[in-house]
Amino acid sequence: MTDIKTVAVLGAGVMGAGIAAHAANAGARVLLLDIVPKGASSRNALAEGAVARMLKADPAPFMGKAAAKNITCGNLEDDLSALAEADWIIEAVIERPDIKRALYEKVEAVRKDGSVVSSNTSTLPLATLIEGLPERFARDFLIAHFFNPPRYMRLLELVTGPKTRSEAAASVEHFADHHLGKSVVHCKDTPSFIANRLGVFWSQSAVVEAFERGLDIEDVDAIIGRPMGVPKTGVFGLLDLVGLDLIPHVNASLADSLPKGDPFHTINRPVPLIGDLIADGYTGRKGKGGFYRLNRAGGSKVKEAIDLTSGLFRPARKADVPAVKESGKDLRALLSHDSPHGAYAWAVMGPTLAYAASLVGVVADDIVAIDEAMRLGYAWKQGPFELIDRIGADWLAERLAADGHPVPEILKTAAGRTFYRVDAGQLEYLGLDGAYHPVERPEGVLLLEDVKRAAKPVLRNGSAALWDIGDGVACFEFTSKMNSMDPDIMDLLGKAIRRVKRDFKALVIHNEGTNFSVGANLGLALFAANIAAWSEIESLVEQGQETYRALRTAPFPVVAAPSGMALGGGCEIVLHCDAVQAHAETYIGLVECGVGLVPAWGGCTEMLHRWSTLGRLPKGPMPAAATVFETISTATVAKSAAEAKERLFLRPHDGITMNRARLLADAKARALAMVEGYTPPGPREIVLPGPSGRTAMGMAVQGFRKTGKATPYDEIVAGALAAVLSGGDDADVLAPVGEDTLLELERTHFMRLVRTPGTLARVESMLMTGKPLRN
């Protein structure tokens, strides 16, 4: 197996550039090549332009500016010889076999032995791609199909040919898994592989049925979205995002390559409106809009939706689907609802699930691969077979039969059973052979969901749980809504610390929610503030301070393993851990100022401590305070774990795991490594600038206020923050400030702000609209 260190990407289009950026994120040296454009000043213009664009793009393809430096730009005429250094050569050029093969021939001439070549094709069969190429190429060639955007979509479809060396595939798989953080799904060499084969069938059914039934697209998205566990963009919103212009190409390619009897042909019915829209420049969000558009005529922004019958835009409205409301979480009730909407839901999902069932053994070996591909490639909460388990395989089979629809074999195999089951704590899936097989995790993957299936929690309440994850390590999990921090979490955390001290060696704080924690439960806090329950609020602040301090000073190592957002109180708990093993996609920050508050669960104190001990700053008490002030007053959120290190939300010694599935195992290993000779950190004592520093920070904010960067209320909040970070009135260079004083300052200023109408208005806006109020 080759250890991949150097990656070459051929083709600097959206996908090629995105893949290059992500390989750079993974720490590889990357060569990005494209053709020499006619008349350009630089022969590398395409690659250089792509990198420059990506540095400005949002969501950012790069995890940090440093990553961009790993990319060397070049062109396919002058720099082919450089491919000799590449361990993995990724082709991402136009979907034309002749062009691809011509390029492969050039690559084959220069690449080194043992290097791997892959194509990012989404439609072409592997067999076609290696036609006429030498044996050495065929042995080192495979398809590695990324999803857009490559940094964020976790699915990588891998297709190998009969001649592909197993070490070649293993090298790519290992790199993709460990370094790119992808879940690799092995696919058979069939058209469009798994996710797009099924995903396009699903979206095409949804569009055609909606069009032919003359439904409103808002209603369609409400039916096809949330109730099915599909992102709320549904289908029309999704196609706007992907680009309408791709639809005819993708459909044509599938129609060409799929066998005659494939059900896709029956739903590949023309939708003339889509052609008209594309011709008018309505190619989706990248164009003038798509099925939805923002009409800016008349100075105001009005969201409009297309009427599928008239083909005209009209103001968008809120979806109103009684079938969805009445069926609640009961998917079967929705699919059998006696209404045009219920009939539509069935017309799309019945055939889609049947299609999925018919593809087992055709596109992949088992249902697990298909479910995984749809979850990670299309962001479905549940894969098709999990959905079938929800409605019942028997029910689906009966309904299909009643419609005169052929019933796929595997549905018959599943008769009276479910596709997944838990046996003795082990998740199992139903194979084509009619027997259950364990769902295997790759080596080194430890999932809390598996732990939870097999055991009872050590401790639990309504908002959190403590689990035994083996080898003397416990895992503390948040289970509250959105993993927001509330009194119950604090309460259980206090108990967990005592329990771990007695029965375990180390503690990991981790959960498998979309977000680690979005911070304190603001709804609870605002309600308490509205009824003037000040002492309750103050004791909540104190409880948090004490619990977090107990976590930091506990006589065992504590490792946080965050993924997704770790904001406010969710950031502060991370700051109090001995070490952090963060998922690369961790978005961490102290955002309290955005809602008119200051961090008061020790967040100010810990950040001051970090910057004064670890920050490479000029001497004196001011630079650390000023840096922390800038970070917190602007509610800065690091956009990746790498960026979090720059902000010292993570310390230099904290670890980053690229693959989310490996996060818990990595965190556990880190915690165990710290057990031997562990001593908890001592009390914080920090040299701070005192009143003069407070004045200086205040003046900085006044400056922002004058230039319009800060609002009047920003100034008040920043003033309170400055009062905390400067260490209070008694602080000066000769009198370091202890953590008790700092925590009291945090508390005092938090309580002062929480009583102010400006703060309450901010919190309310955040809760009601999800948007910060700039008052």
Binding site: G523, L526, F527, N530, I531, A532, W534, E536, V763, E764
Partner: protein, 595 residues
């Protein structure tokens, strides 16, 4: 018969000393409403209430309304009294000057409404309903409709009604059936039956303007398919006068427990001509905009009757001699002591008094906010006032009408057997008070509105405008020794209310039945705490005057009543708190079949 005198001294205390009534003139549009203008208005209102309306109260109750050939006759003296009332400009008092009104503040209007309700609630129903119709048209009517109807409603030559209820739909207006068919000329033809229509037909005015909820042919089902229409008894002619008789007939009048001089009609609409008010299908929204004011007005009915009953009871307790004081004769020269000496009679009288004066202050507080909501130049202040009014409306409606019923019952009890017979009019107050707990949204619905709508809205934002000022007040006055007998119990009740609020919000979120089960007790706890706050502030205002400039003992009595409230009424908050915290399990788990 018990007499009535308008409690002008206490009203001025509430208006000027407690609620900064002198600063009403700060609000745009109220510049002229100085003491010099307000005081004579209050005095005049007191006169007409005591001298014109109150003498007709008992006779009106005895005689009731009669229906003959579709025509309702009000009791003897009512048409003449109405003419005087109208000519005195009282129908126009709080109306828009653009339509001939006098533009008086809600605070002033609330005090005058109280007097009218004390003197003769049945009479007050007629102009009261007109005002509801006026408000609906003014907010939602077209220019043409406003020009046609408003001046007549304001000067009182025409009266109004609100036609909501139908035989099959009371609280749940989603079941409403009356239909409205659009006509080519832009008008509508309405057909259906409305019941319980107060002032639906009578002989006081030359025309009656019905505001009717009905469904358009294309209306969605349920509450979202209701539109509002104006349907006059006589279609106005081209000169704005009374024209052709419209297709609306009074089929019968109800025979009721109380407010017998108020005609409560079954109205049949048969292809009656009407016009749309507001947008199609938005009838409920139109109703909501005036609901707060209407519900506050019903609360004031409870207050008015409680005041009248208290006056009657005090007079009787001074005159009636029976038995001797427990500690020895107080009036040895008489055959017996006046019953005023007996502790239990004093308990009842002080309960009445503390209730009436506290509720008057509460009504004024909310009316002041209503003035700010409509008139304040700062939109933030307007919004805050609106939130406060929205929060307090169900409390004022339910608390004041419940207390109105309880207080009038105390009045009967003080009279003993003489309270139970009709002669003294004390039992009439009870009967009249009873309806106010029911109409304009039953008090159970008010409690649900409070816990189900007002509490959770915007994570409890409207609560802020009650809890913050009260909390700040308690913090500020905690150390004032003289106020300790008031602030301490207030603080205790306030903490209970905070805890109960958090509990209702928390359990109600998980299980709406829990909020529903707590609702009525919670509303009462809220109301008592609000009264405790106002009693503390009244004591604070009165204390400096006691023994210095208090020739008639008004301030001393105020402080003493405040003490009574704190010691003998507010402790109920403890029981209410326990009831709320106990949850609804004992009710909801009860087997339906066992009832």
């Amino acid at each position: 018969m018990a007499s009535y005198t308008a409690p002008l001294r206490d009203m001025r205390f509430v208006l000027y000393e407690l609620m900064e009534g002198d600063r009403l003139t700060d609000l745009p549009g109220y510049e002229e409403f100085t003491r010099d203008l307000i005081d004579p208005i209050l005095e005049e209102a007191g006169k007409i209430a005591a001298e014109v309306l109150h003498p007709l109260n008992r006779s009106g109750d005895e005689e009731g309304c009669t229906l003959e050939n579709g025509v309702v006759r009000t009791p003897t003296g009512f048409p003449e009294a109405y003419a005087l009332f109208r000519e005195g400009g009282w129908t126009a008092l709080s109306c828009d000057p653009d339509y001939g009104g006098q533009g008086a503040p809600h605070m002033v209007d609330t005090l005058i409404s109280e007097m009218i309700c004390s003197a003769n609630l049945s009479f007050g129903m007629y102009p009261g309903l007109s005002h509801g119709a006026y408000a609906a048209l003014r907010h939602h009517g077209t220019h043409e409709l406003k020009d046609t109807f408003l001046p007549k409603l304001v000067d009182g030559t025409w009266s109004g009604t609100m036609c909501l209820t139908e035989p099959q739909c009371g609280t749940d207006l989603g079941l409403l059936r009356t239909k409205a068919d659009p006509q080519d000329d832009g008008s509508y033809r309405l057909t259906g039956t409305k019941i319980f229509i107060s002032a639906g037909e009578h002989d006081l005015t030359e025309n009656i303007v019905h505001l009717v909820l009905a469904r358009l042919p294309d209306a969605p089902k349920g509450i979202k398919g209701i539109s509002l229409f104006v349907v006059p008894k006589y279609v106005p002619d081209d000169n704005g006068g009374v024209g052709a008789r419209n297709g609306v007939q009074c089929a019968s009048i109800e025979h009721k427990m109380g407010i017998k001089a108020s005609s409560t009609c079954v109205l049949n609409f048969d292809d009656a001509t009407g016009w749309l008010v507001g947008a199609p299908h938005k009838g409920m929204r139109a109703m909501f905009t005036m609901m707060n004011a209407a519900r506050l007005a019903v609360g004031v009915q409870g207050l008015g009757l409680a005041e009248a009953s208290y006056q009657g009871a005090v007079e009787y307790a001074r005159e009636r001699v029976q038995g001797r004081a427990l500690t020895g004769a107080k009036a040895p020269d008489k055959a017996a002591d006046p019953i005023l000496v007996h502790p239990d009679v004093r308990r009842m009288l002080l309960t009445q008094r503390a209730t009436v004066e506290g509720c008057r202050a509460l009504a004024a507080w909310v009316a002041r906010a209503l003035d700010e909501q409509t008139r304040h130049p700062d939109p933030v202040q307007r919004q805050e006032a609106e939130d406060f009014v929205a929060l307090m409306t169900p409390i004022v409606k339910a608390l004041l009408t419940d207390m109105g019923f309880e207080t009038t019952n105390h009045g009967v009890q003080v009279f003993g057997g003489h309270g139970y017979i009709r002669e003294h009019g004390m039992e009439q107050y009870v009967r009249d008070a009873r309806i106010a707990q029911i109409y304009e949204g039953t008090n159970g619905i008010q409690a649900l509105d409070l816990v189900g709508r007002k509490l959770p809205a915007n994570a409890g934002r409207s609560l802020r405008f009650f809890f913050h000022p009260v909390s700040a007040y308690i913090e500020a006055k905690m150390e004032v020794d003289a106020l300790a007998p008031f602030v301490m119990p207030l603080a205790k009740a306030f903490t209970r209310l905070q805890q109960a609020t958090a509990q209702v919000a928390r359990t109600g979120m998980a299980n709406p039945d829990e909020a529903g089960a707590a609702a009525s007790d919670y509303l009462r706890l809220f109301g008592l705490t609000a009264l405790a706050y106002l009693w503390t502030r009244m004591a604070e205002v009165a204390l400096p005057h006691v023994g210095t400039d208090d020739p008639d003992g008004f301030y001393a009595a105020k402080v003493a009543t405040a003490r009574f409230f704190m010691e003998r009424m507010l402790p109920q908050s403890g029981a209410l708190f326990s009831q709320v915290m106990a949850g609804g399990e004992s009710m909801m788990a009860f087997d339906d079949a066992a009832f």
